[in-house]
Amino acid sequence: MKLKDFIISEAIVPELKATDRDGALRELAEALAASGALPKDSVDEIVAALIKREQNGSTGFGKGVAVPHVKHAKVKRMSGTIGRSSSGIDFAALDHQPVFTIFLLLSPDNQPQQHLQAMNIVFSNLQKDIFRRFLRQSTAREAIVDLLDEADQRP
């Protein structure tokens, strides 16, 4: 599986307007809905599910990144997007540091293996210092898309 298999380029938000966690989750869900990856009338429900998931345990796994995710019946096809924040967002991260890069992942509720594969590819890349650094420095959507393409081409 590759990042571009589920990251929707048009839904990438290179500079989030939101300055808090819940606002960022909504902004990214709305970007996915605007791209057609998610029904517009399910945004509220999805955002509520994402917030509930965060309350059960932060997906801010450290190193300035968060990977909020949810499995939901309203999601027909796995899709994800990326949001960047220059100022940083409080995600109640494990290392208590602000989050600058958010990978949002929405999965159908009946395909756990596909979900694990997507998490695998996301975290395999986020483990790499250079990937995190370039992502954090990419201020344009095209630059982020190029970075994803490069990451996908590496074995």
């Binding site: 756990p112 979900h115 694990l116 975290f123």
Partner: protein, 104 residues
């Protein structure tokens, strides 16, 4: 006051156990974090190894590395601990899998 010297270890003890992921959702983020939280309560170094076509040794104290295992239901894994509390660490960590992390 002299202590009776019962056991003298020339090296740190190691322990390991083979387990199989049995919960239907696999080792997703929540169980991975549950594992890491428990692993961090032990002094031993903890490693979780996956064999097969995509072998990977995850640091059992790193959530990111545990998620990279992407261990689906039915995946065999090996839990290894290295340190003075290795035995109890492996026992307690394996029990999480036995109990399916409280899932189905």
């Amino acid at each position: 006051m002299s202590r009776p010297s019962t056991h003298v270890h020339s090296a740190m003890p190691k322990a390991s156990r083979d387990i199989i992921v049995s919960n239907s959702l696999g080792l997703h983020a929540r169980p991975a974090m549950q594992f890491v939280d428990l692993a961090n309560q032990f002094r031993s170094r903890v490693t979780v190894s996956k064999g097969g076509q995509e072998p990977y040794d995850a640091d059992g104290k790193s959530v990111m590395q545990m998620i990279i295992l992407a261990a689906t239901q039915g995946t065999p894994l090996k839990i290894l601990a290295d340190g003075d509390d290795a035995d109890v660490a492996v026992e307690k960590l394996a029990k999480l899998f036995d109990d399916k992390f409280g899932e189905e």
